[in-house]
Amino acid sequence: MKRMTNMKSSLGLILITAMMVLILAACGNSANDNSGNNAAASSTPPASESASAPASSEPASTEKTTIQFWHSLSGKNAEYMDALLKRFNDSHPNIEVVGTFQGTYDETVTKLQQSIASNTGPDVTMLERAYVEMFADADALEDMNPMLTASGMSQDDFIPGLMGHSVFNDKLLALPLNRSTPILHVNKTLLDAKGIAIPTNWDEMKKAANALVVKSGNEVTQYGLTMPYDTWYPIAMITQDGGKFFSDDKKTIDFFDNGIGEDVFGYLKDLQKSGALFYPPTQDSGTVANQLFTSGKVAMMFQSTGSIGGLASEVDFDYVTAFLPQNKQYANPTGGGNVAMLASSKNKEAAWEFIRWLETDPQGSLAFILQSGYLPFTKAMSESKEIQDLWAKEPNRKVAFDQLQYAVDTNKSVVWPEVMNEFNSAIQAIMYDSKDIKSTLATFKKEAERILGQ
């Protein structure tokens, strides 16, 4: 009997505690509801608490427009972005931009899709450049051409290599923001020790990578080259080899029939077999590659320009960057995020003012670019004193920018994200399972044509 009461009282206690939590929750929610779309949704959380006071307080007399800005920046880059938004809000008494992290690029895209469908979308968003075309196809983005002209700007103000995913059907749908490109990172200490020069073409790369291999017994203890698992690097190499990812008519791929695909993957497989190339696992592969590089276990690495800052501060060897080696030509794809205005935005004027300021104002993205290590995207920015000073101090960053003259994206298509899934499967089959290159790529071609033909 005693046991029964004991049980009852402890269970009762749990239930009562839980009830109180529920009531608390209800309060929190109503506070959010009352204060409307503006205050509650802002990133200043204490507002939602103070708002639980009587809802009689009228909205402030100054007409303040709130702009919702979704982005995929986290960690330090998010801090830099927050500082940028604060500068904007401080200098624009009538506009309040609220920036919110929405997950990775992919997750942001999913959320944009469902929020556009339910009319809960933001005014301005960051969009991974490869997805711009998909949103353009759904007429979800606003044409910024008229606003650009009205502000006395032109598309020529921007770095051409970064404008590949901006204009569709003569509409200006996105502008570059946090952009990067793959580059060659070199542990020059290791190369110098063997008297090897930094490779500039595939042949030199092959020789250098093999010469840098160190083995103890059968086990490789030092590799020549590594690169994260990503479509980026094979695409770069396809273009360096004179090919294109998609054919010009966008009906098929343009690197199979001409043998370029076999060439590229054959090259990579040769390096992998001799122990010269370490190809990391699919998951967290960027970290694994960085780890090998910083601990001197690999001499060279293909990796994003976005890593330069972090690597420079963590390595204790002579660290330099160089162009990706060429075969028939220098070439490199681009990556990272663009900024776009949603067609559904109700505050387009204010949204444009934010984008204009972000893109061109000296108080705008310049500081963000300097801090984060992303590429300068307007000509004015690249010529600014701040950037020039930075380059003088950190030539590695200048190399990244200079390489943009060879930037080319040949994988543009509205269905690229779906084709990318299939291409990933092909890369995995070849790089991890050592499946036959030709037949794997033939299968991939068939799948790509099916998707492109839909």
Partner: protein, 292 residues
Amino acid sequence: MANRTTWDRIRPYVMIAPAMAGILTFVIYPMGYLIYLSFYKYNLMNRAKSKYVEFDNYKQIFTRGDFYKALGNTLVYTVGVVALTMILALLTALWLKRNTRLNAIIQGGIFIPHIVSIVSVSLVWLWMMEPSHGMLNALLRSLGIPPSHWLQSSRTALVSVIIVAVWQAIGYYALIISAALRNVSPSIYEAAALDNASRAKVFFRITLPLISPQLFFILVIMTIGSFKVFDIVQIMTGGGPNDATTTLVYYIYSYRTTNIGYAAASGVTLMAIIGLLTFVYFRLLSRKVHYQ
């Protein structure tokens, strides 16, 4: 009196009404919506651009190898995880049956993988399974067994994922089983001891039948839970290499942005498969209940 019988008649409906409301709103309605989407090449962001395609999405599902591969992976995963976890959890529970302080601590310890976020769990295993420098291969080499590629080869990737899933689940199910074991009345064992029955005999003749309802229950919930596996695949392999670990839910999810109509059609197909499973289990279950 008549009032009372009316109330008696509607009472069960009132009692299940809130639960059913939740299911109708958040399970049945979304599934209906998916059925609708599955007949379209749907453009979520611009409905005007959607195209009615009849059964095209379904035709695609059944003519494409990757769907069957995902289905096969899911079945292998489910059978592997359920069988291994059941056996190992049962052995663990038997081993830790006695009510000692050490056993309580160890039981707490093996429960840890279940509560630590999947990100930290997977990170550790990614390291341990690294082919050239990982601990598992170091261990195999020291035992004279050839090392494995683990997650990096399509032959071993699914097995590797199963190992991690089992490792993660054992603690939780061992807890349930050991609670059931402690529930078996000591007098039954004492009687068996008097009969001089062997330990194996006691286990198979007495223990196992007595805890079989719990085991059956675990079997059911684990089958269902494994069939909808997602997290561990997403974090450990991303479905690779070469689709070797793509399970059905992961497959469906990977089409969410690019082809929602196709994703919906695969979702409906998954629902049909799961519905069939439900029916079978429901049958088994009601029979089980009658025996009691």
